[in-house]
């Protein structure tokens, strides 16, 4: 008489238990399973841990998360299909990279810190709490406006809100770009979020409300406000006392306030006093020597010389691309300057031009903008293009090229922003679109009429399926 090892029933020999049917002979010792479970648990976990350590944290585009949580709201039912899955990424441990787009907020009592990151596909709030906040503050690693950051953390997604929680201060990698030394006049909205450094005179300091200090600065090229907020003061200490007339070198990040550029200080220690007799390095006096374009520094006044490679009209002026063999620069001439340039009819592709002005960045391009017509000298005038292309040879493949056509005007259609001519050269007809800003410079434009011969050089464009020739300067339309 013995007991069934499975159910404890008394059994007398036999192969199986009469009560539970368990085998009485071929049995797996319980100990094997016990240690087996331990082995699977400990070995498996060790392997999992090893594999996890080698697994990179998933890098996400913020845009792919952005629609998270909101996609099912009726108001946003048309949300991007992929984005709709964003909500399923809630609580994922991920990495994002981007630029800090707003000043960091810091609450010393609650020990919280938050900043917004934009990676070009979207923007997201990143928050740190308690220990992580204090570690960032004590380590001097609090992200500031304009900083490039890479952050790893836990995604928190709500219907109308997406944020990343920083779990460890070291999971934040921060890169602060070197500020660009500029004159004040060179600072424009195109430089938003760009770190800059200016040397200038203090005009005044004021506190529009408690916690915000505005320092008005001036140099030969202009005037700008520098702003120091309470968070920056809390994190980096009080700034030095400034008085009108002080000469300072100050660095910060360009931010737009109601569309106007201002310099936001990211540390109160970024203000350095200069000796009172320091001559401010940059002014608008014309340099004697021509600067190779490659050496032109943003924010400085420069004199360059080069050949016009292309021209583009815009609503209030013209932009010529100059090249001197070392690099290109855009010569921006506002209408009031352009019309007074001596020999302006020769200012076209192929001309050699010398110009002097303040160097800025516009739409990401290096640009010189002379203040007056005297600052532009046409060394060698350009000649009108002579090679004429048959209209029938112009098609979609030529869009973007600059070509010249010649023929009779068969229709004149003025409209609110310019005039459309239809030109027939015997091989076909083409529309010539002359914008209002260009039309005013077309020689003898008042005589343009049906039946007149015309030669037009312009950029080939396509509008609603129709090929158009768009002259960029008035002198490229020659009425014969």
């Amino acid at each position: 008489m013995s007991l069934c090892p499975s159910c404890g029933w008394r059994v007398e020999g036999g192969e199986t238990c009469p009560r539970c049917g368990a085998s009485l002979k071929r049995r797996l010792p319980w100990r094997v399973l016990q240690y087996g479970a331990l082995l699977v648990a400990m070995g498996g976990l060790a392997l999992l841990l090893y594999a996890a350590r080698g697994t990179p944290v998933t890098h996400l585009d913020i845009g792919a998360i952005g629609a998270a949580g909101a996609s099912l709201s009726p108001a946003r039912a048309d949300a991007h299909h992929d984005g709709a899955f964003g909500a399923a990424q809630n609580l994922a441990y991920v990495e994002i990279s981007g630029v800090v787009t707003q000043p960091t907020t810091y609450n010393p009592e609650a020990q919280t810190l938050a900043f917004r990151v934009d990676d070009g596909t979207g923007e997201m709030l990143v928050s740190a709490f308690k220990n992580e906040t204090m570690a960032l503050v004590k380590g001097g690693h609090v992200p500031a406006l304009g900083d490039h950051v890479t952050v790893q953390g836990t995604l928190r997604l709500r219907e109308d809100f997406a944020a990343l929680t920083l779990n460890l201060a070291e999971a934040l990698k921060l890169e602060r770009p070197t500020p660009l030394a500029l004159t004040i006049g060179a600072i424009n909205s195109d430089l938003a979020l760009q770190p800059v450094e200016v040397s200038a005179r203090v005009v005044s300091t004021r506190e529009p409300y408690a916690g915000l200090t505005l320092i008005t600065l001036q140099d030969e090229t202009g005037e700008i406000d520098a702003a120091l907020d309470e968070t920056t003061r809390l994190l980096t200490g009080n700034p030095p006392k400034l008085a009108p007339g002080d000469r300072v070198r100050l660095s910060g990040v360009v931010e737009l306030f109601k569309g106007t550029p201002q310099i936001t200080l990211i540390t109160s220690q970024s203000i350095e006093f200069l000796p009172p007799d320091t001559a401010l390095a940059d002014n608008l006096l014309e340099p004697e020597a021509v600067t190779p374009i490659v050496d032109v520094r943003v924010g400085a006044a420069a004199k360059v010389e080069g050949e016009v490679k292309s021209v583009e009209s815009f609503s209030s002026g013209f932009s010529f691309v100059l090249e001197d063999g070392s690099g290109p620069v855009a010569l921006a001439l506002r209408d009031r300057v352009y019309q007074k340039v001596v020999g302006v009819e020769g200012l076209r592709v192929g001309a050699r031009v010398r110009a002097f002005g303040l160097t800025t960045i516009f739409n990401g391009t290096l640009q010189i903008a002379p203040e007056q017509a005297e600052d532009v000298t046409i060394v060698t005038a350009g000649k009108p293009a002579e090679a004429v292309t048959a209209i029938r040879e112009i098609g979609l493949a030529q869009v973007g090229q600059v070509l010249t056509i010649g023929g009779k005007v068969v229709a004149v259609n003025p409209f609110s922003e310019g005039t459309r001519l239809t030109v027939d050269d015997g091989t076909g007809t083409s529309v010539v679109l002359i914008w209002e800003s260009v039309l005013g410079y077309v020689p003898e434009v008042e005589w343009v009429a049906v039946g007149q011969s015309a030669r037009v050089t312009g950029q080939v464009a396509q509008f609603q399926g129709t090929i158009e020739i768009v002259p960029q300067i008035g002198f490229d339309v020659i009425l014969e």
Partner: protein
């Protein structure tokens, strides 16, 4: 005041959810959060198919059905989830006595008591819970720390004292050590999941599913697969062996455990059940069973209800975390509608529990536990792999090994809750990321 058509539709969605939740709750070890996750993924893939508010009410019905009826697989098939692990042992004793149906109805009675409590709490919750939240917010880390200490220290040796003093010592510590090891290993697994999960980012909201399936469901199924336990015929009576006093005591203990679990972050229904169990276990097993029924209903429903509570909007529990990504309850009307739906669904679920329990009691003796376990195992494997891919499967396998330790070595299965308790409590204490760094995860 009249019932607007939109409210009527919302209530219908809740009742539909109750029917679906009740039916799916019968499948052993299939958790409601897994089902809700699948529904959620479908909804995200079809953004215009179901308004978020309807989905929120459907989920309420789903969780009500599950909270009442997951008792059935826990008692009849010994397949508990984390909220019913303390129900398995007394439930099994009832089952072996042929009283499985009675045990199921005892939990149902407890659940009904919990439902009544939640309804009474509905008008008061927006007033009393926000200040309590503000009061406890700064103390969560040590409260959770104490729970861990209590959980580990309240483990007792199950070994019969035999042999030399050293043998007795090691025998006693075998179970205790296994409990500690389970807690530690599951906690380490929690760290891996939190910082370097193998679950694809696209379904990160289901990050814990493979771990919970592995820790709680798979071990029970494996045991069922390899043992030959025969279930005796079950008796279906028309009354319960319980007095109003015992019922009240069980419900009260369950309310305390359930509310604690619902209100505090990280604390799950399992821990609520553990606390409720400790409040009642010494007295009467009927009280224990009732308290477990109350606890899980108050935990699951209460945690979800807190998300809609005006002035509070706490996202506690997996379901609220899921819904919060697509829906916000802006007005008290939604809260009261959800409460009404909870009441109606609760009553429906209670009657469904009676119906399904009666049916299960009749067929369970004829059912092959092995085939049932094998079938369930296949379903769970398919769900885990389908939802979380091979990475999730790897996590599930390791979690299963950990989940088997307390069964094999005679320790408390609640130690598996270390998967949440350890990393999150350490996070709240501010040490979590440091430990993760030490493990090389950050």
């Amino acid at each position: 005041m009249y019932l607007r058509p939109i409210m009527f539709i919302l209530l219908l969605f809740a009742l539909l959810g109750t029917l679906v939740g009740s039916a799916l709750a019968l499948i052993p070890a299939l958790h409601v959060y897994t089902v809700a996750g699948l529904v959620m993924l479908w909804t995200l893939a079809h953004p215009n198919a179901l308004p978020p508010e309807n989905l929120a009410l459907f989920f309420m019905g789903l969780v009500v059905g599950y909270a009442f009826l997951n008792t059935i697989p826990s008692i009849f098939f010994s397949a508990p989830d984390d909220s019913t692990i303390f129900l398995t042992l007394p439930g099994q004793r009832y089952l072996l006595e042929g009283r499985g149906h009675e045990a199921a109805l005892l939990t149902g009675a407890g659940g009904l008591g919990g439902l009544a409590f939640l309804l009474l709490l509905t008008p008061l919750a927006p007033l009393i819970l926000p200040p309590i939240r503000n009061l406890t917010q700064a103390h969560l880390h040590w409260i959770l720390g104490l729970i861990i200490v209590f959980m580990l220290m309240s483990e007792w040796p199950r070994h019969e004292p035999r042999g030399t003093p050293w043998q007795q010592f090691f025998g006693a510590w075998r179970g205790l050590g296994a409990g500690l090891l389970t807690f530690l290993l599951s906690g380490l697994l929690g760290f891996v999941l939190m910082y370097r999960s193998f679950v694809p980012t696209q379904v990160a909201f289901q990050n814990l599913i493979p771990a919970f399936v592995g820790l709680f469901a798979i071990p029970s199924l494996l045991v069922a697969l390899f043992t030959h336990e025969r279930i005796p015929p079950q008796h279906v009576g028309d009354s319960l062996d319980v007095s109003p006093g015992l019922l009240a005591r069980g419900v009260l203990a369950g309310i305390l455990g359930g509310m604690f679990a619902a209100f505090f972050p990280v604390v799950t229904g399992g821990i609520g059940g553990f606390l409720a169990g400790h409040a009642t276990a010494q007295r009467d097993r009927r009280v224990l069973i009732i308290s477990q029924g109350t606890n899980k209903v108050v935990y699951y429903l209460g945690a979800y209800l807190l998300f809609f509570t005006p002035n509070l909007h706490l996202a506690r529990g997996g379901l609220a975390a899921m819904v919060s990504t697509i829906f916000t309850a802006y007005t008290p009307t939604t809260y009261y509608t959800v409460s009404a739906a909870m009441a109606l669904s609760g009553v429906l679920a209670f009657f469904l529990l009676q119906l399904f329990s009666r049916w299960t009691a009749k067929v369970v003796a004829q059912m092959s536990q092995r085939w049932l376990a094998a079938g369930t195992l296949i379903v769970l494997l398919a769900v885990v792999v389908g939802l979380t891919r091979w990475g999730g499967l790897a996590v599930m396998v390791v979690a299963s090994g950990i989940g088997l330790i307390p069964i094999m070595w005679g320790a408390r299965r609640a130690n598996c809750l270390g998967v949440l308790l350890l990393p999150l409590t350490l996070n709240m204490m501010g040490w979590g990321a440091g430990v993760a760094k030490l493990l090389g995860l950050i």
